[in-house]
Symmetry: C2
Subunit: 372 residues, 2 copies
């Protein structure tokens, strides 16, 4: 996706915080070596680590010119504005980048390459506009094919959007590899695709084809790994995005699930509002909901809980993990703060316990609904 | 959608059967007065009723020229080919229609208006290419707003695709009106939109916005009716389309559900294959699954079963309805064959029993998942 080795400037104007700049933080956490600077004039002069806790000494600067002096040669839009449009204030930044011949990487809902002014500017300066949300042209229809794989498919699922499903998946892959497993990561969101360099932003796909795209990604990933870890999206209890979540669950046909939650969050965020919103059920209800929904197609088991404890101090975070384990009977960890080894072992134990490499689908043929 | 009063030719070439020509059959059932002819050279000379059981004496003819002599002035593509492309064999038919200045109505995945040749032809002859699957430009994010409506929202849900969810919804509206209810129909699929003249083909919407589109449609419909009947899509147990189904369920926030099933079908059809596919669970498991999934956001109750018994004889159909009632404890009827009065009464009784016009959302505020 990012192509050649990069020195990126990450645009996070006015919003370079852990929660707002999800994409910037993800790229800093997993590809910091390719980041030259972060653009946020309101925080210029600080380091990435000081602002968001990752990215070490990567400097925050005010504009494209300052990033250029640090060797940047590409611009990545590192925040997702409400509505998905390009804010007018950022247009000048994108223009300045293109005028220097930088490629611009965007996960906005609106496609930069379809903007006549920016497209002309890119052409004039030999730069590329890469819209990572642009869906594949193929119209893939899922058919539960991933249920027949020999590889163990693991999906991260969650209590809400933005609780750490991508991070849990990436940390799990790392921990599985540390344990000697052959694991592959399947990216399904813009940040994941920027980090992995491949994948599909599934919530930008036409609804009929989401499960089909996920199925194709999983079948491909299973060629490279015994364990396929799929980045989840949304939440079954989310009023806007539950459909994307179920399409992922039924497209990926996971055998194992890792439940992700942010400690302290008790309401689903709707429309960016952290106060309004729907209550998040207890973890054990979430475990049951995800297992039930998976079971409509193919049984799956939640094997562990990934808690994002970044909002509380370390002792509180440890206590929260202990409580999650007591509530669910499952290993629980903050994969960033306390490591994902316990989750990796749970996945490996589960994979070893599967009766056959290719588990049977949901159930045997049985009489139709009304012919009993 | 269809605009001025029409005399349509319905294209169903080689596939004018009840199951294959779903859109043509729907338009014939509910807007037969606007149909001049059906195009299927392999069945030319017969009547619609002889081929598909509805549409009375509407003649089947071989080509656009023959339809024109019967007064046709528009072409509607009445079948959905596998893959959603325009089959090469139909291009000549679409061209012939445009050359006569006919508007062409299409629910194909591929948009006819984006086809350079057809677009040029339409311009040259003052004809319109109407692509009913083209999603709205708006990017609407659902927020469970439909849960707060005073109107009773009813959603038809099903055991599979193409079991009769649209027909059940339309017959239910008719029966509610016969009982004196003020009911409105919300179309969510191409046939429904052709029939209703408005609505959105939700499975053509980008996944993030499906629930938001449905929410907007339901809020608008609630201004015209005390009971809003929403056409369902897909099935929670379908490997490809379950995400669309859940997005509809959470976007519409129904209080009541009508479960639809085709008598005799025991497997979910995947990729058009009627033999392969996943088993359909018993009706009472389906009732539970839909109520569970709705309850993740807002409780809903299945109030009746709509059985499509078109594939069996009448006594067998009656027996199937009796069995469905015994299995589920709910009224069951084939709304086309035996009428929807019992389902309408179940909906009205349910609406009358609701404590308050605006039912409370899922649950009261409660402690977060790990803070019990």
């Amino acid at each position: 996706m990012l192509g050649k080795a990069r020195r990126l400037a990450l645009l996070a104007e006015g919003r370079f915080t852990p929660l707002d700049a999800k994409t910037a933080v993800g790229v800093l956490r997993y590809r910091a070596g390719e980041v030259a600077a972060v653009l946020d004039a309101t925080r210029a002069g600080r380091t990435a680590a000081a602002c968001v806790g990752v990215g070490g000494a990567v400097p925050v600067v005010a504009d494209v010119e300052a990033a250029a002096t640090l060797g940047a040669d590409g611009l990545l839009i590192g925040v997702a504005p409400q509505g998905g449009e390009l804010p007018e204030a950022w247009r000048a930044t994108v223009r300045a980048a293109l005028e220097r011949g930088w490629d611009v990487f965007s996960g906005l809902h609106v496609f930069l390459a379809d903007d006549a002014e920016l497209a002309a500017l890119a052409r004039a300066h030999g730069a590329r506009l890469v819209d990572v949300r642009r869906p594949p042209a193929a119209r893939r229809i899922a058919a539960g094919r991933a249920a027949t794989l020999g590889a163990t498919v693991v999906l991260t699922v969650g209590s809400d959007c933005n609780v750490g499903k991508m991070t849990a998946a990436l940390e799990l892959v790392r921990a599985l590899e540390a344990e000697g497993g052959r694991a592959t990561f399947v990216a399904t969101g813009q940040t994941g695709v920027f980090i992995a360099g491949r994948g599909v932003v599934v919530d930008a796909v036409v609804a009929d084809f989401v499960a089909g795209e996920v199925e194709a990604l999983v079948l491909e990933a299973a060629r490279d790994g015994d364990i396929v870890v799929v980045e989840g999206q949304g939440a079954l209890h989310h009023p806007a995005y539950s459909g994307v979540t179920l399409a992922l669950l039924h497209g990926a046909c996971p055998a194992a699930l890792v439940l992700c939650h942010q400690e302290g969050r008790d309401r689903i965020r709707v429309g960016g509002d952290t106060e309004a919103g729907w209550p998040i059920p207890p973890l054990r209800e979430l475990v049951e909901a995800y297992q039930t929904a998976a079971g409509w197609l193919r049984p799956a088991k939640v094997v562990g809980v990934a808690l994002n404890t970044s909002g509380v101090d370390e002792p509180t975070g440890r206590a929260a993990c202990g409580r999650a384990t007591r509530d669910t009977g499952l290993p629980a960890s903050d994969p960033v703060r306390f490591g994902a080894a316990s989750l990796a072992r749970a996945v490996l134990d589960f994979a070893a316990s599967r009766d056959t490499p290719a588990a049977a689908p949901r159930r045997e043929r049985r009489p139709g609904a009304t012919t009993a």
